[in-house]
């Protein structure tokens, strides 16, 4: 026995098994994730839902009442992978920041002393550890300490979210700030749950 949901697809009501519902919802959400423009997203999703509705009604015919996981999988096979539909090469999460010119800041979130290496790493697109190793090498040869001190004094700290985005070369706009907070939230959540499991 399975639980069913009733869904409205293209102004028609379907009963759908819960596993089939989850699969379909996940599929539509993934397509939605590619479009930031609300109007465009609604247009495309509505058209796709309409077509899925048509395919369901063809598949169900007059005798069957419930849409199953097999139906949903078959229909997704016909509609195609979200990446193909949207013509995108990769999942959107990989590059959801639009980029702009980078600026040099000290990174207060990635610091051992003054955040100079963290900021330099973000500016140069290098791993912080590499920057730190380079600095230690410079220290051994003498001038590193002075360079670090000067940078610490001269380079401003990235205090605001906008500055932190600039530091990573991301354009400051509302959607990026939204993404930034979502990422921050996720990382806080992760570190919290890690602490809990310890």
């Amino acid at each position: 026995m399975k639980k069913t949901f009733s869904v409205n697809l293209g102004n028609r009501v379907y009963n759908i098994d819960d596993d089939a519902y989850m699969r379909l919802k996940d599929y539509l959400d993934r397509i939605e994730g590619y479009y930031s423009d609300q109007k465009e997203r609604e247009d495309i999703i509505n058209d796709i839902e309409l077509r899925i509705s048509e395919l369901f009604s063809e598949r169900l015919g007059l005798t069957r009442q419930v849409v199953t996981l097999a139906d949903v999988n078959a229909v997704i096979g016909i509609m195609g992978d979200p990446r193909e539909i949207t013509g995108a090469g990769e999942e959107p999460q990989a590059s959801h920041y639009t980029s702009g010119p980078r600026r040099l800041y000290r990174d207060p979130d990635d610091r051992m002393i003054g955040g100079v290496c963290g900021g330099l790493g973000a500016y140069l697109g290098l791993d912080v550890t590499i920057v730190r190793i380079l600095l230690v090498l410079f220290l051994i040869f003498g001038i590193g300490f002075l360079v670090y001190l000067i940078l610490w004094i001269v380079v401003p700290e990235a205090r605001t979210t906008a500055q932190k985005l600039e530091m990573r070369g991301d354009t400051v706009n509302t959607s990026n700030i939204g993404n930034f907070f979502r990422d921050e939230f996720e990382s806080v959540k992760k570190s919290f749950s890690r602490k809990k499991t310890k």
């Binding site: 109007k39 077509r51 048509e54 009604s57 195609g80 013509g87 090469g89």
Partner: protein
């Protein structure tokens, strides 16, 4: 070089042209358009059509109206706008130019 991407880009450009072409012969709803594109094997998965339709509609090339259907959900019939017709004429001209250009290059190569 990623040739899959080249092929996909080529197909996408041609697809937009073909959608306008199909609609120039009469209004059609998405599934009509799909069936014709599938007959000529221009489209592999159906989903690729919808972003194109939405783009062309937002660019003012297409308009649509709703019609009830006796079987299944109501249908969204697409039609070419005046602007769409103008764009189609331009695309037809550039398509013919492209074919000639490509043919002449393919046929000349590599003997000359």
């Amino acid at each position: 070089m990623d040739f899959e991407n080249v092929k996909a880009q080529m197909r996408k450009g041609v697809l937009e042209f073909c959608i306008l072409s199909i609609l120039s012969k009469g209004d059609a709803y998405a599934t009509d358009i799909l069936n014709r594109l599938k007959e000529s094997e221009l489209i592999v998965v159906e989903g690729t059509l919808y972003p194109l339709l939405s783009r062309q509609k937002n660019a003012g090339l297409l308009s649509y109206r709703w019609e009830e259907s006796t079987q299944g959900p109501p249908r969204k019939y697409y039609a070419l706008t005046e602007q769409g017709k103008e764009v189609l004429v331009e695309l037809e001209a550039s398509w013919k130019g492209l074919i000639d250009a490509v043919e002449s290059i393919i046929n000349k190569h590599p003997n000359q």
